[in-house]
């Protein structure tokens, strides 16, 4: 399964591309997170600290959301839209 990366996460992965992660039908978001933590420890650390959210089909996902092969999954670091004027 392909996992989209954005912002600082791109710079943490050699090549700055999407992640490619093994995935079995019926797995939940938390299973996917465990796989990522094993295969990409730096990304895993941010996931651990809850600084990175997981989105499924462009909505923030819960830990127990069940995934489908057709799902669009992404890792979202803390948002920083706007002009930064507080």
């Amino acid at each position: 399964m392909k996992i989209k990366l954005f912002g600082m996460l791109k710079t943490m992965i050699p090549g700055g591309k999407d992640l490619e992660v093994d995935f079995s039908e019926g797995e939940q978001v938390k299973d996917l997170v465990h796989t990522i933590q094993r295969e990409y420890p730096q990304v895993g650390e941010l996931l651990e600290k809850k600084k990175v959210l997981v989105s499924v089909n462009q909505e923030i996902a819960h830990w127990d959301t069940v995934l489908d092969t057709a799902d669009e999954v992404a890792l979202l670091p803390p948002f920083a839209g706007g002009s930064g004027e507080l």
Partner: protein
Amino acid sequence: MRSHYCLPLREDQANYELRRKGNPMAVELEESMLVRVQLENFSIDEELHRVRSRSRRIGGIAMFLGTARDRSKGRDVSSMSFDHYEGMAQKKLKEIREQALRDFAIIEALVLHRYGPIEIGENIVLIIVGAEHRADAFKACQWCIDELKKITPIWKMETTPEGEVWVEEHP
């Protein structure tokens, strides 16, 4: 909260329904222009025109324009660049516009954010809210920019004397 504004808006609603029946595609195109994430700079006069042309009942327009500052958390910033999640970013801005139209006594709202490289002093984000009364326009405009910062998947990288830094903002 909005129900008692239905009456004065009835005429505009009727016009809108007519336009929708006459050319549904045109109306959808018009609405899609009110929520955008784009690379290009924008003209405030042009964006204002989109909002005000939707109703002659608008009397007060509140706007927020966010621009690129040369300082950030005590660091000099020479330029910046925004990354966004294409699709989800647009979806969230659309939700913001629709919730603002539902929750505040306003007539129209526009929400626009740029991505890609942006020089100091340039435009980054624009919110325009048109209402009959200015207090409602101000309230909705402030809510939109607060909400945008909370829920929109957009990320900022600043170029500083120490190099490129991804910003973690908690507004």
